[in-house]
Amino acid sequence: MSTQWQVAEVVGGVPENDTARTIRLRVDGLTGHLAGQHIDIRLTAEDGYSAIRSYSVASAGMDGHLEITVDELPDGEVSPYLVRDLAIGDKLEIRGPVGGWFVWRPINRNRVQLIGGGSGVVPLMSMIRAHQASSNESPFRLLYSLKSPETSLYRDELARLDRESAKLMVDYIYTRSTPEGWPVPPARLTSDAFLGRIFPPEENPDVFICGQTVFVETVADWLVMAGYPADSIKTERFGGTGGNR
């Protein structure tokens, strides 16, 4: 882990949807990281003013490289620049990856329930990729709550893994609009809709929840009320101008 600022070079940028983009960075000396960690990015303007934001790492296990996925906030200070203006060959200052709590380690043999709201799926995707790349055969399940199919991140990769991987199952909940032919209409989130699509408490899953504050608070409370032990639930929030902006 490096907590000193260092220079990273932008070597790739792929749009995920209308507002989000995955940025690949070359980071000299990076030898892997834990799935679920974040980096800090510092942008500096010509007059010396600088702004720092944290972004979850989306990739897993690439020596010398890492990827972040940034969702543009309409009134954001940093995210519009990263999504719209940053070009291949540009250099950025980063610190990290850091964090030792909201992480999944391949040595952990418990089954894992991931719950993501919107762009909260980013650190969960890092865990899925690390799990896929490992010999860890514990089942993973992702429940991905989205406003609409168009707002999905990693849509093709998740669909392919859901189809082809025996150790990952992906479920979706749509709150505003659904894909064509979806069996249930879009609906507000409810406890029943959630609890019916995740590993039950008696299977003792490790639970990771990431999304906006209200989403995380609400879902975490439902899980505790349904009998999941509080210490089996790890949460990460994108609240206000907090975490991953």
């Binding site: 882990m1 907590t3 600022w5 220079v7 800090d40 510092r42 942008l43 500096t44 303007a45 010509e46 010396g48 003013y49 600088s50 702004a51 720092i52 934001r53 944290s54 200070e77 940093v78 620049y81 203006d85 940053l86 540009d90 250099k91 950025l92 200052e93 610190r95 850091v98 964090g99 030792g100 709590w101 909201f102 504050t213 995380v216 608070e217 975490a220 409370d221 899980l223 505790v224 509080a230 210490d231 639930i233 790890k234 949460t235 929030r237 609240g239 206000g240 101008t241 907090g242 975490g243």
Partner: protein
């Protein structure tokens, strides 16, 4: 000056109340490692356990009978947001420590739900820290640490433990939860003590 990103303008506030690397938010973001515990007031207590073995404790009613202070403070989260001029009501730790005899230099704050954070005692005394139960004129919401949280506004906000249960006084600085997970032992925002 760091590496310049051409075309990046950013939004300068130039506000001297903001420590380096911080930006101001009008929201009150919630960041917690797990679900928020539910603590009925009848089961609430605040304790100070001295290294002598003596344990001082206050029930909710005893705590509310102590002198209450109103305060306006800036708070700074390590994830880079700051909220300026927040209003709180609670009891100064100076008041709570009046009856406590100790030679310890450090404290570990324990929360309901198991969270811990370490704070040097000199950062808790001398009008620098409180146990607060009201925010913006309303009882502190559970998501923000209600019924009561520690407030140590001159340090990064993870030191202001939500759902505070009590303080354990120690001779050594023992890393708490975030401090064991890569964060700084002291967490002074003006020195940008974010990570260990």
């Amino acid at each position: 000056m760091g590496l310049v990103s051409s075309g990046f303008r950013g939004r300068r506030s130039g506000n001297p109340a903001l420590p380096p690397g911080q930006h101001e938010t009008q929201d009150f973001p919630v960041l917690t490692a797990g679900p928020a515990p539910l603590i009925p007031l009848g089961e609430w207590e605040f304790f100070i356990a001295a290294e002598t073995g003596r344990r001082h404790s206050w029930t909710w009613n005893e705590f509310m009978a102590l002198p209450q202070e109103e305060l306006t403070q800036d708070i700074h989260c390590v994830t880079s947001w700051s909220k300026l001029g927040t209003q709180w009501r609670g009891v100064s730790l100076d008041t709570l420590f009046e009856s406590v005899e100790t030679t310890s230099d450090f404290a570990t704050a324990h929360s309901f739900g198991g969270y811990t954070t370490n704070v040097p005692l000199w950062d808790l005394l001398g009008g620098k820290a409180w146990v607060v139960w009201e925010f913006d004129g309303e009882p502190l919401k559970r998501a923000h640490g209600g019924p009561a949280r520690l407030l140590v506004p001159h340090l990064y906000f993870w030191k202001s433990a939500k759902w505070i249960h009590g303080l354990e006084l120690t001779g050594e600085d023992v890393p708490g939860f975030w401090e064991s997970n890569g964060y700084h032992l002291r967490g002074n925002p003006w020195r940008e003590e974010r990570y260990s």
